[in-house]
Each structure stands twice: as C-alpha cells, then as structure tokens.
Symmetry: C2
C-alpha cells in the first residue's frame, strides 16, 4: 500500500485479532528476578501465592518460558466489545509540527474505563470466575483501575470490592459513581472494615488515606474472606502478559499496511501499558529479528527508571507485599502533592526493569507543564483530550518528531495513547489557569528513600 | 453473510464513508413550514438570515429540494479523525434480555465532545472559516455542544465564544475546562459583556442564568461584532442535514452485512440525532422503496411530540429568534428541576415535526428513573456508560426487544447511542443513591405554555 493511501485509522477485523497473549519473558536471556517472600528472603512458591492470587494467574506470574498463552473465548468475546483499538496515523499532528516523521498512536481510551486497564481487568476477573470464586478485591487511587475491574466484574457477575483512597473518594466522586453504576462496592480507605484500617484510623484519626493503605486493606479482605482474591492492575508479570494484546494488535496493523516503526514510545508508571505495547516488538529485538528504539517516558517527579536503583524492594508502601527486583525509589516514596495524574508508583515492572538494565530500552523523565503543553497541542490537532499519563508519551513523540524535522529523517514513530483525560480536568484547569507547577526531587530527597531499601541476601 | 458471522462492530472503511449529506426535505411531499420573521410574520429571506448565519449555511437552511450536498474535503478529513462511528451488534444485551430480537446501535460517543454534536460543529465552523470570518458564538448548557464547537474551531484556527449558563459554569466546571483546553473563551451567562446580559443582571442580580438568556447574548455578540456569526447545535434544517452522516453510515454498514432494520429508534430533544439517524431510511420510506417503523423517544418531563402543539413558536425563551412551525410546549416552558441531562428544549425540529404530523413516525415519552434503569443495564452488559439522552433510546429499544420475546418475533432493532455519560455522573449518583425522582407536568401546567404561543396569521 503506498504511503499516501494509509488511512487515518487502521482497524483489524475481528478475525485478525490476536488469540493468544505473548509472554516476552520467554525470549529474555536474563529472566526477571523472582518475587521473594519478605519474611524468608526466598523465592515465593506457587503455594505461597495462591491465597492471594487465582491459581491460573499464579501460573502466568511464575512462567518465564511459555511464549504464548491462548486467550479464553469469553475474554475474546469481551475484547470484541471495545477492541480492536485503532492504530491511528496522526496526520494532523504531523502537519502541525511540519515534520517529515510519520507518527502513529495506538489508542486505548475508547472504552468507559478510559484506558488500557480493562485488558487485564477482564482477564483477572475471568480466572477468578473460572476458579469458582465469589469476588475480587482491589485498591484504586483516582479510580481508573477500579473502574476497569468493576466493568469486568459486572459482565461476569462477580462481586467487586474496591478500596479507594479516601481523599480521592471525596474529591473525585465521578469515577466512584461509575464504579457504583457497574455494581462495585466502593469503600473509602482507611475504613473500619479491616484490622489494618482500624489500626491506622486509631493512630491517625484525620488521615485522608494512601495507596499503600488501600492495598493493605484490599489484601486483608481477600485473604480473610473465603471465595475472594486480590487483583492488581500493573507491575506484575501477568499484567504485562495480558496487556501484550496492545502490542500484538499494533504489530498486526502495521504488518497490514506494510509499515515498520523505528521508535516505540510509552509512558511508564508501573509499566502495564509500556510493557504491553512493546512486548511483541521487543521479542523480535531479543530474537535478533528486527531492531527498534524503545523509549520509556516517566514523570520527572517520580523518576524510577532514570534516578532509581535496580534492587529488591516492597511493591507497596505498607510493606506487606512480596519483594520484587525492580528500578525503585524506595517503597516510602510519594510524589510531591503538585504531581497530577497517575505514574506515581515508586517502582517499575520487574520485566521492564530487567530489559532496561540489560540495555534494550531507553528512558527519559519529563516535567509536567511540558507534558500538558504537549497534551494541549495533541488535543487541538488530533481531537482527543489525552490522559495526563498518556501525554508523557505524546511529549516524547513530539520531541522525536521535531528532531526529525531538524535532520530531515522520515522516521516512523509509534506511541501508546493509553487513555482519555475526561476525569482529569482539575489538572487541566490548573494548566489552563497557568498555575501548574513542576517539581524535581533533590538528590537528598531520593537518597532517603533508597537508603531504606530492605535487606536481602546478595543485595548491596 | 450468515447471521452468526456478523461481527460485534461493523466499521466502514474510509473509502466507504459518505461523501455527501442527504437532505430529507427533498423527498418530503409536504415540506416543513418556513421560518417566519417574528416582526412581520412573513417567511425569512436569505438576506434577513445572513447577518446571523454564514451564507452557505443559510442556503442549506432554506433549500428544500436539493437531495445531496457534497461534504467538503476538509470536513471529510476531520470526520476521518473520529468517524466512521461503529454500528454495533448488541450481542450481550440480547443475551441478557433473552430476546430473539437483533439489536444494533450506532455509537456516536467515541470522540472528546462525547456525542454526535461534532458532526455539525465542524461543518458550521468550516463554512464560517470559508467565508473569511474571525469566529463564531454560541450558547451551551451543560456544555456538550460548546465542547464540540470548541474542538472544531481549534482545528480550523477560528475564534470560539461560548456563553455558558452560569449555574452550569459554576457547578459543572469540567466541560468548561475541556472547552478552555481547546482554546474557546467561555463566559458565564448572563454577563456584563452584552446589553441583554447587563439588563438581566440589573433586573435579577442573583440570577443563575438560562439557556434562553445565553442564546440572546451569543446572538447579540455575533450580530454586533464584524466577522462573527452565531451557530446552533440542533433544531435547524442545516443541522439535520449535517447529522445525516449518522444515518448514511448506518445504512451503508447494514447494506454491507445484508441486514435491514425493522424498527429505528432515537432520542428526541431538538431532533439533531434522531433526524440524522433516520434521514436516509425515511427517504426510502417517503419514496415508497422500503418501510420502517420510526420511534422518537422523549422525556415525560418535556413531552413536545406527545403532548405539545404543532404550531409556530419562538425557538428561544428570549423570543428574539425566528418563528418555527414545530411541536412545541411554548417557548417559556422549562423542564422541572429534577430533570437530568439534555432533551430539555421546548420545541422540535420543523422537519421531524412535519414528518410526525404526517404520520411517518411514532413518538413516546418515558420517565427518567426507567431511563436510568435501562442505562445501568446497558452499561453492565455492553460496557459503555451511556449519556442520559441516549438512554431514552435504550429504554425504548429494550421495551421493543422484550415485546419480541413475548411474540417470538426476530425483529431487527436499530437505535442511536448518541453519546457517553462521563460528564453526567451527578445524575448517575442520584440514581445510584436511589433518590432520583420522576415528574410529569400536569395538563394545567402545559396549558399555560400553549396559551402563550405567538399570534401568527393563519394559526389557531
């Protein structure tokens, strides 16, 4: 197909949609380090994980060798309601930038959860249902993951208990109401429903909650109530496996039009979108079949890749979850209050951490006012109001396209547009009013978090 | 194509997209009555309309005979950013209802304006740009139309002045921020910027504004500032012309799979979505080529079709706009305060009014708690949180599908899913909390509005 015939949106037909997830670990020479039991310091066994996660998900979490996992038919049917997502040629953005670069984005925001999170939520809910469980528990901050999970559970008739950070529950009531419309119970955290919640409330009566506390409550409820398991929307190997559907679709769509991207860009918080987007392309690179530049983009206010340490650390602030080897700022790290949107996790997917450590990927940190400038330009030219998280990738894609303008290179750039910003308008208002600020943590600030990393045998 | 092979979503390819709008008036034996000058009582001439509307739009407004208007290339290009919209087979809803009916919906919500309004906004902004104008003015209530217009103006580099009802400006700040992100100026109405605004503020210092007042301000600014024109998102003939793209795409998608709908359902406020959806199908019916049942669904709290009068009336509460012959509740009619969402216009598109009057279409009124029950069922099964407006059509589609369950008929039902409910969560919260109420105006209430219709020669 000649270049000028490429449509604005490339959709796969339903029979071209991927029928198996791709597990990039199968092609990694150095596998991601195993999760450790924080008590014993030894790798966690399947038996130790099954009280927390569904059996099938434990298998997926621990399997470093199987390259493809067939997607069950019921999940494929659910995917058909909102997938395939379009691969979009950003003709209007290219024109506005006056760049010779060809810009594409894979848009995951055309569903009510507003992001790619639904791809893993339906998978995790499905396996819980298959195991005969009654329901699942989880935590949510602003509500993106909780919304996705509540949609998946409504579809499958599964109970969904969401612990929502109290300050978000009160100040961002809209995602809460979406979750309630889908039948989820949404509890402000800390709550009196759990031991850990009661303890925290007794010690800090006025607390507005934290993600770490909400995780602790969700895990407690899952492990104490028969028929419940805990689910998580990022970081885990299983999540990157499910999210590979993004990259598989993108690759199939590129193959359909006979185009090969040169640069692939994704925003990085816990790594679910970035890992999903790049997986099949990274597989080609790992197998020596093709080469791509991969760029992870993170907030300068939460720079785990670019300023963190590759070490074992807790996945949660409450230090009750397993230890994962990853780029981390320390489990006590919390972004400054002026940080808008997500990408606020202190660590990073162990798979992506290993790949970055081994030199297969670049990373850069960007400041949030420049991110919102990119978001505004994108909205005005491409017509989609992007999520703040996604806008980190937009910023890097624009920067790369402008470099092409200088050099005259016609590079093909792909970035992940993970979602829409319809529930992030408080941040847009700050930007529109000109009162948005940036924050870069000092070396001293970061050193404190890194000094508190747990003691693990063999770790510096 | 065999029934069981029909995909969940039917997308046209870009070269299958409509390249001309269809003007249903060309096939109507009885044309809609002309707009009248409220001062003289005589049909408005093109000369009288050009100070308010762009020249090309005036032509479209007054042309009852041309069947097809080619869509300019720049508008086609803009359409490609968010169109074609999918025709969706509601397999999951059918299964949940256990009905033999085949349910389809045309989904117009996958764009940042959140609705079909963008289809006409880009057209109206384009013709303003073509005429060399500086900008356009409009009013907005909750902000759906204003958002669409600001997106279109940002794309074309046109100034966009939106007068937003003050109570919405203050209580629903999120759509306001979307408009600002797209570069529109958003002014709470009534404002001190206009003569009419200053007059109203002097008389009613504490007023929170009304749509009628916002229209008056937008029209004043358009007519007093060289290089500006006023634009409107519904009711007008030109708007139904642009919105015909919805029905043309739907018909092409049905033709592609070899299916013909039996019943076509749309929600009706001013008529922009309903008119756009049904136009090409209605054309076939008017020409005697095919038969369809058309059902307009309106709120029981604002029942212009089912309880209004077919008569000349003002289009605005402020009584400064032309007179249109339509089903109306009287220009002073305002839905009760418990009415959620849009569909609150006192009148109805003159085209649709004439078609309904001539027996080509049915209409029914539904109460809002039943509408939100339908919305919740739809969200939980089909995965999309629908706009309250669209949910009126969902309610009627479910009712028709349940009738099929009783009779065993395998009817094919198409309804218009005009948009998403992401900015309507205050209403969803009322529903989730069980505090949503219904309201049906009494005959006495309606009689007051109908008694105040303007005096026009030849009108009862």
């Amino acid at each position: 197909m000649s270049e000028n015939k490429i449509p604005y949106k490339i959709y796969l037909s339903e029979n071209e949609m991927p029928t198996a997830w791709y597990n990039v670990r199968a092609d990694m020479k150095t596998k991601p380090a195993p999760l450790l039991n924080p008590g014993t310091g030894k790798p966690l066994s399947a038996e130790e994980l099954t009280p927390i996660f569904c059996e099938e998900l434990v298998k997926q979490e621990l399997d470093d060798n199987t390259a493809y996992f067939p997607i069950p038919q019921e999940i494929l049917d659910f995917y058909k309601m909102y997938r395939p997502s379009p691969l979009v040629r950003a003709y209007c953005l290219e024109k506005a930038l006056d760049t010779p670069a060809k810009i594409y984005y894979k848009f995951e925001g055309n569903n009510t959860s507003g992001s790619h999170k639904l791809n893993s939520a339906i998978a995790q809910a499905y396996y819980a249902k298959q195991q005969g469980l009654k329901g699942v528990t989880t935590e949510t901050g602003a509500g993106q993951w909780g919304t996705a999970l509540s949609m998946a559970c409504a579809y499958l008739g599964l109970d969904c208990k969401v612990y929502m950070v109290k300050v978000s529950y009160e100040q961002k009531p809209f995602r809460r109401e979406v979750m309630r419309t889908y039948g989820a119970s949404v509890t402000p955290s800390p709550s009196m429903e759990t031991e850990v919640g009661r303890k925290i409330l007794a010690e800090h009566p006025g607390t507005t909650g934290s993600l770490g506390c909400a995780i602790s409550e969700a895990v407690e409820v899952a492990t104490k109530n028969p028929g419940y398991r805990y689910v998580l929307g990022s970081v885990l190997n299983q999540v990157l496996l499910h999210q590979s559907v993004i990259g598989l679709e993108a690759k199939a769509a590129f193959d359909k039009i006979g185009v090969k991207p040169d640069i692939i860009i994704g925003c990085a918080g816990g790594g679910s979108n970035l890992g999903g987007l790049i997986s099949p392309f990274m597989g080609e690179k790992l197998r020596g079949e093709a080469d791509y530049r991969f760029i992870a983009v993170e907030p300068a206010s939460c720079p785990s890749f670019t300023r963190g340490k590759f070490a074992y650390d807790f996945c949660d602030t409450g230090m009750i979850c397993p230890l994962a080897k990853m780029y981390t700022l320390g489990s006590g790290f919390i972004p400054s209050p002026n940080h808008a949107g997500g990408l606020r996790f202190h660590g990073m997917s162990p798979i992506l951490s290993q790949l970055y450590h081994d030199g297969y990927m670049e990373a850069r940190a960007v400041e949030q006012t420049s991110v919102f400038e990119a978001a505004e330009k994108f909205a005005r030219t491409e017509g989609i109001l992007p999520a703040p998280e996604s806008s980190h990738a937009i910023k890097a894609a624009i920067d790369e396209a402008l470099k092409c303008k200088e050099t005259g290179e016609e590079k093909t750039i792909l970035f992940g547009l993970t979602g829409t910003g319809y529930f992030d308008l408080v941040a847009y208002q700050q930007f529109n009013d000109g009162v948005m600020t940036d924050y870069i943590p000092s070396d001293e600030d970061l050193a404190k978090g890194l000094a508190a990393l747990p003691q693990v045998p063999g770790q510096d």
